[in-house]
Symmetry: C2
Subunit: 228 residues, 2 copies
């Protein structure tokens, strides 16, 4: 088992594990969890079918690996996307934009998340980790008195992520691209004091491309250095 390597270099093992994860992600995104055959994933990873089971207990576990990695990367990207010195309001906007763009860019993988938490099991740890990014921003905001605090943070969190997830679905369904105004409006109602904005007139590209570049590079970096 790769768990206790002594004969083979750790790097080699991790590389293989990561390449299986890559293959799985690709196939899952392509044909969905049920549509994916483990044999296809194995082939895509240039590995025998049995080898997959050396690294992952079963197909579900493999899915959990893919989804977990995604959220871990998302957390890193989010942290990079937020300017530490900005106001709470600005940070929320940064996180919101980043989040919405990520949901849209990786819609298929995000969708897999549901499949990874069978029934009312606890959420994946990595998701909880990600959510803390929001909590930290809010906590700081409260400490500094920058936020109206008549509504509990926990509830605002549900507003924030719930809205963005549904908005992403809506945009996807209507085949619309990323729309800045969704975040602006969300913040307007969440933190008030705002200038709400009509939906983007047409398919205008996201303006904060550098933000996504940051993410991409981090992800690339992560993917090659392996994780899990």
């Amino acid at each position: 088992m790769p768990a206790t390597p002594r004969h083979t270099s750790r790097a080699r093992v991790e590389a293989k594990e990561s390449s299986i994860l890559d293959a799985a992600e690709k196939i899952f995104a392509q044909v969905g969890f049920d549509g994916a055959k483990v044999s296809d994933i194995a082939r895509a990873a240039s590995v025998a079918e049995g080898t997959v089971y050396l690294y992952y207990k079963n197909k579900q576990d493999l899915l959990a690996g893919v989804v977990g990695r995604f959220w871990t990367q998302l957390t890193l990207g989010a942290e990079a996307a937020i300017e530490p010195d900005a106001t709470t309001r600005a940070q929320l906007e940064q996180l919101g934009r980043y989040h919405l763009q990520s949901l849209l860019n990786q819609f298929e993988v995000v969708s897999l998340t549901n499949r990874a938490r069978p029934q009312q099991e606890q959420d994946l740890d990595q998701v909880r980790e990600y959510v803390r990014v929001f909590d930290r921003i809010m906590q700081r905001g409260v400490d500094r008195g920058e936020l109206p605090k008549d509504i509990p943070i926990g509830q605002l969190r549900d507003v924030f992520f719930g809205t963005l997830e549904f908005s992403a679905r809506t945009l996807k369904l209507r085949e619309r691209p990323y729309d800045h105004s969704v975040v602006t409006n969300l913040l307007a109602i969440m933190v008030g004091s705002s200038n709400a904005v009509a939906a983007a007139p047409k398919g205008k590209e996201p303006s904060n491309r550098d933000l996504m570049n940051t993410l991409k590079s981090i992800q690339r970096q992560l993917k090659t250095s392996g994780d899990s």
Copy 2:
């Protein structure tokens, strides 16, 4: 095929179809979609395995039947729960409470909804139908000038349903009961002009029990008269 009955009474056929749906709902809710064996469902419905396939093309289709029926019932319940003459604000609160309670009461079935829309297929028709209840309330609100209209209705819809769904998950995860304040606060930020409210101090039962009774009776009625 039950599609063109001539030898058997329609009522009988529909009763059987409905009893299969009942069995499926029960088993799905119990062990999830993947955990459910068609043979178990058949047994629970006192029917042979093959019979299930007379009524539903496959397991997916059976799931769609269960989920579809749920949302249809939900729509009826929602319509019953809303007082036609109330203010927009009041109607939204009624719908919000009803929605949150339903999500909590039938959490397992709601979860199945995700499984029923494989990949970015369009949503189930019944879900869209349900969403229209919200749209009608909002439209009326706008027509009457009761709503601040700086934010598009479509986006408010995502705020409304997205927030409630995430709130329901949060409550479920923390094993908390229905909490009135979630809806109150949501409306406070959505429609403004509000008195936000701290989370319910303890596990206080939902106060508008009659509302749920209305729903239940409608559901019972529906279930026996069959649908699909």
